[in-house]
């Protein structure tokens, strides 16, 4: 921070704003969350274990984590190309394309869900080309992956863009003047510098995909043991008033996403150090 400041400030309003912040946060976030913690406490270990290792639940982890991982990797690859293009090249309509990248953030997930389902259904614009090839777009694990790719797309691009903009031009010049080809410069100089940002963006996309619900349920078809994602299982447990089962599965997902959050924080610290060191 640019300047240090004393604990005693001349500015007024600390008590009021801090008090309100704590009160509002407790009412809106902490008390509801503590209901989840309290509910978890009432679940016995054997009950918990039985629920979260049920074959149908395990199958849902496989499709959720698997499709999220593949979608994150696809986004990592194409996100790097998109970010590079948007930072380095100019072409007509670039500003619009750049603004469009945030569409998955802005579009309600239910809308993305039905749009993707319509697109990849056997009669859809893309499905009708895939169907003769024997590829099932909608109502298959591929459909789940496509939806998760859609919602994870902005994370990689938006994390990489500032990192690419901050690249030190002199380093690239130095590499070129020492006789490196563009490809060598990219692999040896540029990629290692932006790698932490790439990894952060990919992990963010993965974390978001794990908990996604709206954009997936329409295209997935929700077949047990195949395309039923974990979020949907939580909802179906709730619909049967099985609060204990829903809570147990929710805890598994929450712990996974907190571990990912921890990883993201470590990655960001790493990339921050890289940046200031450059």
């Amino acid at each position: 921070m640019a300047f240090t400041f004393k604990k005693r400030s001349v500015l007024p309003g600390f008590g009021l704003t801090m008090g309100y912040t704590i009160l509002y946060m407790s009412l809106v976030v902490m008390i509801p969350l503590s209901a989840l913690v309290a509910k978890t406490m009432t679940v016995s270990w054997s009950q918990f274990w039985e629920t979260v290792t049920d074959p149908r639940v395990v199958a849902s982890y496989k499709i959720t984590f698997g499709a999220s991982a593949i979608a994150a990797l696809v986004n990592g690859f194409f996100g790097l190309i998109v970010a590079w293009t948007l930072v380095r090249y100019s072409f007509p309509g670039k500003k619009i394309v750049d603004a469009m990248v945030d569409l998955p953030f802005a579009l309600p997930t239910a809308v993305s869900g039905i749009a993707l389902a319509a697109l990849y259904a056997p009669s859809g614009w893309l499905g009708r080309w895939l169907d003769p090839l024997g590829i099932k777009g909608a109502y298959s694990p591929l459909g789940v992956t496509l939806a998760l790719t859609f919602i994870g797309l902005p994370f990689v691009v938006r994390t990489l863009q500032p990192a690419l903009e901050d690249l030190d031009a002199e380093v690239e010049d130095a590499a070129a003047s020492l006789g490196a080809t563009r490809l060598q410069t990219f692999w040896r100089v540029i990629l290692p510098t932006v790698f932490p940002a790439l990894l952060t963006g990919t992990t963010l996309a993965f974390a978001r995909a794990l908990g996604e619900y709206g954009s997936v349920v329409f295209i997935a078809g929700n077949v047990q043991y195949s395309t039923e994602i974990t979020s949907l299982l939580i909802i179906s447990k709730l619909e049967q008033y099985d609060y204990t089962g829903a809570t147990s599965i929710a805890v598994v997902m929450l712990v996974s996403s907190f571990l990912l959050l921890l990883l993201i924080n470590i990655l960001q610290r790493w990339s921050g150090r890289r940046h200031s060191g450059a």
Partner: protein, 314 residues
């Protein structure tokens, strides 16, 4: 999403001074040449970018409009002439009208406390504010069911007093407030931390009271970030699906927001109406992107202007 790192101007300054050692500015074009990719690389990467974004962004958006208009303009508009659709629009507006202002007031208060004062546990508080972002929509809905549902913590008490929260409007509003909780605060906190307290201190020394200082000094400085946060908060409030779906109970004409109405219509194979309703939300998303870009553009322009001003002073 801007990273206010004070190291960047410093790095730029050293880069400028070191390149100033080279004769004149000849380094400019030469270095640009070294960083320029061959034309076929540029063409390929731009093509891949446009194809990928076209396939994943433009095509879904276009398909919403195409499906909505499949049976003509008449059928499109007929979809809105329905009491269930109108009540969904109304409920969506209500829940946004309640959640955006409450989270706006919270965001300003939290940012004032966090950015203008030093206290222990600050980074913990910031992490806690971000917490709802880390929790998936379905789990965000679940926690309110555990709290207020029939078999929940307060379920028996609520039933005794004949208060309905889950499967009713209050639950929808609460879930919406929860998922949109961090939006304004997280835009304001980094900006206000970057701005420091110099201007506020000056105002106070000149005799302004706390409110005057906030209204005339702080608010003008943060208004664009505030607007940005409100735009994002509103988009999420109107579009939230997972969390609201869990607490809503899907009672047609009573507890359906627009996204839930889309789901019901779609599951009833009423595709034209489903996509017509979805097109409203898609329009909202496009409006959000335009407003967001306009604010970003405005901020960049002002930043450039103030940088030029600073350069002129020196």
């Amino acid at each position: 999403m801007s990273n206010p790192t004070p190291t960047i101007p410093a790095a730029a300054a050293t880069a400028a001074s070191s390149s100033g050692g080279a004769p004149g500015r000849t380094a400019g074009p030469a270095s640009r040449h070294a960083r320029r990719d061959p034309w076929w690389v540029r063409a390929t990467l731009i093509t891949i970018t446009l194809l990928f974004l076209g396939l994943f962004l433009a095509l879904p958006l276009a398909s919403v409009m195409a499906e909505a208009l499949r049976k003509g303009v008449g059928a499109y508009f007929a979809s809105f002439n329905d009491s269930a659709a109108l009540s969904a629009i109304y409920l969506t507006l209500i829940s946004a009208a309640l959640s955006v202002p409450t989270n706006l007031v919270f965001g300003v208060a939290a940012a004032w406390a966090i950015a203008k004062f030093e206290f222990t546990g600050k980074s913990l508080l910031i992490s806690l504010i971000d917490l709802p972002f880390a929790i998936s929509p379905v789990i965000s809905g679940l926690i309110f069911v555990l709290l207020f549902g029939l078999q929940g913590w307060m379920g028996p008490w609520l039933r005794e007093h004949d208060i309905k929260i889950i499967f009713a409007v209050p639950g929808i509003v609460l879930a919406t407030v929860f998922v949109t909780f961090p939006f304004v605060a997280r835009e304001l906190i980094p900006l206000m931390q970057e701005q420091g307290t110099d201007e506020e201190q000056a105002a106070l020394v000149l005799g302004a009271n706390g409110w005057q200082t906030f209204w005339h000094v702080t608010l003008p400085n943060i208004r664009w970030a505030l607007l940005y946060g409100v735009i994002l908060c509103n988009a999420r409030a109107m579009g939230e699906f997972g969390a609201v779906s869990v607490v809503s109970g899907h009672i047609r004409g009573r507890t359906n927001t627009l996204p839930l109405h889309v789901e019901i219509l779609y599951n009833e194979y009423n595709f034209v109406a489903a996509f017509a309703t979805a097109s409203l939300l898609a329009g909202l998303a496009i409006l959000t992107l335009v407003a967001k870009s306009a604010v970003e553009w405005q901020v960049a322009r002002r930043r450039k202007a103030s940088a030029a001003e600073n350069a002129a002073e020196h």
